[in-house]
């Protein structure tokens, strides 16, 4: 009988190992947005009609704002101390650098590299924190070479980042006259979501659940296919 038990145990072990892995992966699927950011993007083109930077404005949600500003000195009208707001956003900028500023720019299947940010401004309006920065591409992208895509999202999907509603969230600044953009709302394929949810924490780095819930903006100019 001990043989039977041993055989049974041997048959069980791979199953058990698989189950342990599944349950660890389960942790990822519990991820869902705990905050949201309304995003506005001004796409900047140089005088040769090349895309060289994105000027992004992030408007944080009221809960995140209240949560982050607790204990910050306020002026008489109830607005928070600008220095404290700057310090908070400076910290955020420092932290998101490692995550490519939660921004992805892609052209012909190649992801653009960023050389840095400039013109960082932070503020507070209508009970919401705001952050504006200009994200510079390492090498500008020629619009004639094909469509350019960008997306602003949190790969962990802890924060939902969508273009602000009500129009005007996207602006092409200095672009050739024949350039148009299209905003594709998130359309997560259930299989992709399930797959992403099953991924391990380490596997999910940079390519987690958030990507499947991200909006994509495509910019096409002239005869570009």
């Amino acid at each position: 009988m001990s043989h039977q038990i041993a055989r049974l145990a041997a048959r069980l072990l791979p199953l058990l190992a698989a189950m342990a892995l599944l349950s660890a992966g389960a942790e990822r699927a519990a991820a869902h947005p705990h905050a949201w950011i309304d995003v506005k993007v001004k796409v900047l083109f140089d005088d040769k009609g090349r895309l060289y930077a994105l000027e992004e404005t992030w408007v944080f949600d009221p809960l995140y704002t209240a949560f982050s500003l607790d204990g910050v000195k306020q002026s008489k009208d109830g607005s928070p101390d600008q220095k404290a707001v700057d310090a908070l956003m400076h910290e955020n900028m420092k932290n998101i650098k490692e995550y490519n500023y939660l921004t992805e720019v892609e052209s012909n299947g190649v992801k653009a590299k960023f050389s840095g940010v400039r013109d960082i401004r932070s503020g507070h309006r209508d009970k919401r924190l705001r952050l504006t920065f200009t994200l510079l591409l390492e090498s500008p992208i020629d619009t004639a070479a094909g469509p350019i895509e960008y997306g602003v999202f949190d790969p962990t999907y802890y924060i939902e980042m969508l273009h602000a509603e009500g129009g005007g969230a996207i602006e092409l600044s200095g672009a050739p006259a024949d350039c148009k953009y299209r905003l594709d709302p998130a359309n997560p394929n259930p299989n992709a979501v399930a797959l992403a949810a099953a991924l391990d924490r380490t596997q999910s780095a940079g390519d987690g659940l958030g990507k499947y819930f991200a909006e994509r903006v495509t910019i096409r100019c002239g005869a570009a296919p």
């Binding site: 009988m1 001990s2 039977q4 038990i5 049974l8 145990a9 048959r11 069980l12 072990l13 199953l15 058990l16 698989a18 189950m19 342990a20 892995l21 599944l22 349950s23 660890a24 992966g25 389960a26 942790e27 699927a29 519990a30 869902h32 947005p33 705990h34 905050a35 949600d61 009221p62 809960l63 995140y64 209240a66 949560f67 607790d70 204990g71 955020n92 932290n95 998101i96 490692e98 939660l102 949190d154 802890y158 924060i159 939902e160 997560p188 394929n189 259930p190 299989n191 992709a192 979501v193 399930a194 797959l195 949810a197 099953a198 391990d200 924490r201 380490t202 596997q203 659940l209 819930f213």
Partner: protein, 336 residues
């Protein structure tokens, strides 16, 4: 005896199928990460669609919670508070309907250990309540009593999370130790009466009575040790507060409507308890159904049960370890 073994294997297979399908990703887990393209091309399965629906439903809840907190701050009406409570309750249900660490532990424990249905419900409710209480104690203890800024509670949440994962691993270790000790006793008892099972080998499980007094039948298990395992399950799940609950509490406190935050957290706990208890009932009913096919006094069944318990403990131990290692990663870049 052979038939008994086949039944046991069936039992084990079924028990394993329940928790893994409750994690709602049995279809996705076995694909490599590189297969995304392929995954997109195939028709989504029922489980995948359900998971996607839950995730897309969850994304709405945070906005609704924020909006109703804002309404209560402005109006301070019973109707507004009621709105928050209903949303919080649904938040709790949906939060629990998706896969998570609490359900992984509970299903792994319940599917591999003999517990009564009532105990399964009790465990689910206790874990959800402790989770709500942890959030309340943590937020009010740190902000109101200790004077921390709300955003600094995030580091405490992270600590609580890590303690929780260590407790999960400790619980798994305890269950492994307990099952291994039982198994050793069973096998030693069997060796001493080696003639017993062999003589009755062809009698089938229903006549294999010999030696049952030597084997620790789970029903006779020391109830104090059983309580220890149950307390371990409740604590390891409950000590990790839900970050949604912490956020709602902290913000309600800042808005001067702490009572609304507390009511919301209890509503979340109730929703979570109902959803998790439903799952626990499913797991236990299926377990009992299959266990009834195998005579409890059969030696193979007892030893098989101990092997299953050993495996369950190993899963929980591994789960705790993996969650802990995962928690050592960087915090969210935006300080949430």
């Amino acid at each position: 005896m052979r038939r008994g073994t086949v039944r046991l294997a069936l039992l084990a297979l079924l028990l394993l199928a329940i928790p893994s399908s409750s994690f709602a990703q049995s279809g996705a887990g076995d694909r490599p990460a590189a297969a995304t393209q392929q995954a997109e091309a195939t028709q989504p399965g029922l489980v995948a669609r359900a998971l996607a629906a839950i995730v897309s439903e969850q994304r709405q809840f945070h906005r609704k919670l924020a909006a109703s907190l804002e309404t209560i701050r402005k109006e301070r009406s019973a109707a507004a508070a009621w709105g928050l409570i209903v949303i919080s309750f649904l938040y709790g249900v949906f939060h629990a309907a998706g896969p998570g660490h609490g359900k992984a532990i509970l299903t792994a424990y319940l599917s591999t250990h003999r517990e009564r249905l009532r105990r399964g419900i009790l465990l689910s409710a206790a874990a959800a309540t402790v989770q709500g209480l942890t959030a309340i104690l943590l937020v009010f203890g740190l902000t109101t009593l200790a004077g921390w800024a709300a955003r600094d509670t995030q580091s405490a949440v992270h600590w609580a999370e890590q303690i929780s994962f260590v407790l999960v691993a400790a619980l798994g270790g305890y269950l492994v130790f307990r099952a291994a000790a039982g198994l050793r006793r069973s096998l030693a008892g069997r060796a001493a009466h080696a003639h017993g099972p062999h003589a009755h080998a062809d009698d089938g499980h229903s006549h294999d009575h010999c030696g049952h007094t030597h084997l620790p039948v789970p029903d006779q298990m020391d109830s104090a040790r059983d309580m220890r395992a149950m307390a371990g399950v409740v604590l390891s799940i409950g000590i990790r507060p839900c970050s949604g609950a912490v956020l709602v509490l902290a913000v309600a406190n800042l808005f001067g409507i702490a009572w609304a935050g507390i009511a919301a957290v209890f509503a979340m706990s109730l929703g979570t308890a109902i959803a998790v208890a439903t799952l626990a009932l499913l797991v236990l009913s299926a377990r009992n159904l299959v266990a009834a096919l195998v005579a409890t006094e059969s030696r193979t069944a007892v030893v098989g049960g101990q092997i299953v318990a050993l495996a369950g403990g190993t899963i929980i131990l591994a789960l705790g370890g993996m969650l802990f290692v995962g928690s050592l990663g960087p915090a969210h870049p935006l300080g949430m």
